[in-house]
Amino acid sequence: MTGVDLPLILFLSLCGLGVALAIALPDRKSPLCIAGVGVMMSLLALWMGGAVLLSGTPFRTELWQVPHLGWLILEMDRISALFLCITALVYLPVSIFSAEYMKRYLGRYSLRSFGVFYHLLFASIVLVLLAGDVISLLVSWEAMSIASYLLVSYEHERDENTRASFLMLAMGEAGTLAAAVALFLLAGTSGALEFTALRAGPAEVSQTLRWVVFLLSFFGFGVKAGLVPVNSWLPRAHPVAPGNVSAILSAVILNLGLYGIIRVNGDLLPVAHTGQGIVALVVGSLSALIGILYATIENDMKRMLAHSSIENMGIVTAGFGAAFIFSTAGHPVLSGVAFIAALYHMMNHSLYKALLFLGASAVDSRVGGRSMDHLGGLMRRMPWTALCFLVGALSIAALPPFNGFVSEWLTLQVLLRSAEISSTGTKIVFALCGAGLALTAALAVTCFVKAFAMSFLGTARSQDATKATEVQRPMIISMATLALLCLLFGILPTYVIPVLDRVVTPLVRQSVVDDLVPPFMLLSGGKGRYSDGFVSEFHDLGAQIGQGVLPGRGLVVLHQGSAKNPVVFAMSTSYGAIVLLLLVGGSFLLIRRLTRARKVTVQPAWDGGLRRLPPEMTYTATGFSNPVRVIFRAVFRASSVAETREAIAEHFRTAIKDSSREVHIVDRAVFLPLVRATQWLTAWLGWMHSGRVNVYAAFVLITLLVFLLIHVLS
């Protein structure tokens, strides 16, 4: 317990110091100070989270008692600790990045306010994660909402920024309201506001109440997580924030929505009905599909990354849904695996999304534009940024040996295990959602091939792109750190999964680590509960090389089938990375050796004999993703706004101008009808606002008469 007290106090005081310094120091010195304080706060948060995550001793402290409401409690269990570690892992590089990045706002906007809100945001996030009762959760949640709103609307002189951030705030508040209602309903059943009391709660909670709490909390916290159909704010708000804030929004704050979902529905009031799990699964799959579809056709880098965040949050939610279904169907091991897969994906997403956003911001700061149709050829001019962005793109496209592959593989494998569920309806839902997620994975590859290729490869498509230069060292270091983490989490999954398993054990009341990461290849043997048949499967694959000498576990395994007929799905990115290194390195050396005598000349690309190949003759981002636009036309329903054919006498056609506008499917299906209904309702109620004072006086009189009547009659 004391292990966390100290860093927490240091953390909060450092936050206060940071705020004070931000106010006191002149703007010139502010970026460095923000960065420094941010780094130190991240390290402290990492210490706090790491202590609880690895040692397992929970932390709890009671702050003070609010009259009639109860104690304000800060407590951290392993779930909070995991989220805290992820937050810190993202905040650290983002703070380093800010040291250079914030300099572009010198003279334009006040860096003081940025510093204040930045530190306050971090503190409020940590408090959300540490909240042990409903009140502190809601208070810190509001603080976090407001701080993030203020940061998103940092560049307030642009109209679209204020509109987007306002939408984010409004929808966020609506979500918070729903979540608050859910929490209070839950508190009503147990009579107290503390989480421990809610967890222990009455055994009998009616089905209706369970459903209401589930739906309210799921969609309420889902607003923050960016789930369909409440994600309209996300693609608008993320791109308009400053680069480092976008990274934090996508990589940290979206996770808080998931934190709320898992806290309420996994921990406080575990899901008891398969239907609730199905809701989560379906909503998650839909979000994933819709998110990636819109990401693929988007040409603005940051908006594309925002849509992609929706996709990844959808995948995590689908994982949660699968976990809920498995636990209600009586498969705790599978449920645990599903939770681990989802949490792993969430962690990976934070890392590579932050990396991608930082990369996009670096490009934006150098080129001055985010549209991929104006970039191009940046690989030669910004090699380090390109390399880090490439790592991020490979990770998000789920390619080994990076981290996205592990979590995506686990999620899809878990969904394939629907065969073990007895109900056919559920199996069908699982199959459809699995197919949807597979399609999502394929589209994600398309999307990020486009993103990387159009921005960094090829020829420069605009003057600005030809003048870009590499960014400064702090920005490169921050991106490289995240890239390295992506690689590490990809090639060492067998060290991450046991940690996640300990996070998940309280939720499913079973440890699944041995099922996922079996120890039988280790020095210490440890065959234990595995049959010879099962282990011999690995011998057939040749995985026994090094058995008995390996220091750590290398395989991630999903086992199915009986002892006589074991069917194993296995993946080892650790060994794979080693083999890949050997193959690539070996091939490289071999080719160098064989072609030593060859003369190599470099000539321009063969273009058919033209004098020059202007950028108009190279593929554009729109062109690359056009097939997707055409195939999924029914989803996009793009309307051609202006197609003018200027012609002078019928046969001389000189120009065809064609621009199309698209309205997001969620807006079309959910919001615009809602808005129209509201407008209709208010228009109908408008008759009350006649503007005449005597009518209003009459209303007051009638209301009074009604109350008197009620009082008399009751």
Binding site: K599, T601, Q603, W606, D607, G608, G609, L610, R611
Partner: protein, 254 residues
């Protein structure tokens, strides 16, 4: 689809057996003037040639095949009378820029990739080049293939008098080829500019823009001559001369 396969099988093999045995069918080559013992009419015959391919060497009419466009004016009409050579093995190395560039031997002998570049050709040379890829001549059996990109080409096959507008594309294509690379110039236009000659819009052949290794005169050279030139390039055939020497070279028609 089977009807097509059956049709192809029924048609049988039409391909010539050249170079294993000479092709004797009629109409495979226009032939070319073969020199003639000079006489009092020789000056009139020489004047009939519109491209200046005929000249007097001693008392014989010599033919510079780089300029002959097969107009038949020296053979028909009032002042005709010159020997006519049948045959089609017209490939020559005499215009090669670099004498010590060895023939493209080794693996290239039976596997050669060719990129055809049209430098302003009238269409007849290109049509004859196309015929080499068709059933009657089928150069695939000899290991010669046409590629669509100079990046994988070993040899450039050029036709046309090199119009000014094609100068840059030609050098671009030549530079895009990896070494070892060679050039075959096909047709009289590519050797001397043909009827279009050096002018403001075209040049006296492709030899001034790229180094040429093998040339095939003719207007157009028949497919067998083009195949002979390719075989010459890889050392599987013997070169012929670009100039005729006298009446011993061919039969004299009255």
């Amino acid at each position: 689809m089977t009807k097509w396969i059956w049709r192809g099988i029924r048609t049988g093999i039409k391909t010539t057996s050249y170079p294993l045995s000479p092709e004797l069918a009629s109409g495979v080559s226009p032939g070319r003037p073969g020199g003639h013992q000079g006489g009092d009419k020789s000056r009139l015959v020489i004047e009939r040639c519109p491209t200046g391919a005929l000249h007097l060497t001693g008392d014989q009419i010599g033919v510079d095949y780089r300029r002959c466009v097969h107009c038949f004016r020296c053979q028909r009409g009032a002042h005709s009378g010159i020997g006519w050579q049948t045959g089609y093995e017209w490939g020559s190395r005499e215009e090669a820029r670099d004498d010590d560039r060895a023939t493209l031997g080794g693996a290239f002998q039976r596997s050669l990739h060719i990129r055809v570049v049209d430098c302003g050709a009238c269409g007849a040379c290109l049509s004859e080049i196309e015929q080499t890829n068709k059933p009657y001549y089928n150069m695939h059996r000899l290991g010669f293939f046409i590629t669509p990109t100079p990046r994988t080409a070993d040899v450039l096959l050029l036709a046309g008098p090199l119009t000014e507008h094609m100068r840059h594309p030609l050098s671009s294509a030549y530079n895009a080829m990896p070494t070892p690379k060679r050039v075959i110039a096909v047709g009289t236009c590519a050797l001397s500019g043909g009827p279009f000659g050096p002018s403001f819009a075209s040049n006296a052949g492709v030899t001034e823009a790229v180094p040429v290794d093998v040339v095939v005169p003719g207007c157009p050279p028949p497919p067998l001559a083009i195949i002979h030139a390719m075989l010459l390039l890889v050392g599987r055939a013997a070169p012929s001369s670009l100039h005729s020497v006298g009446p011993t070279e061919g039969r004299v028609t009255p």
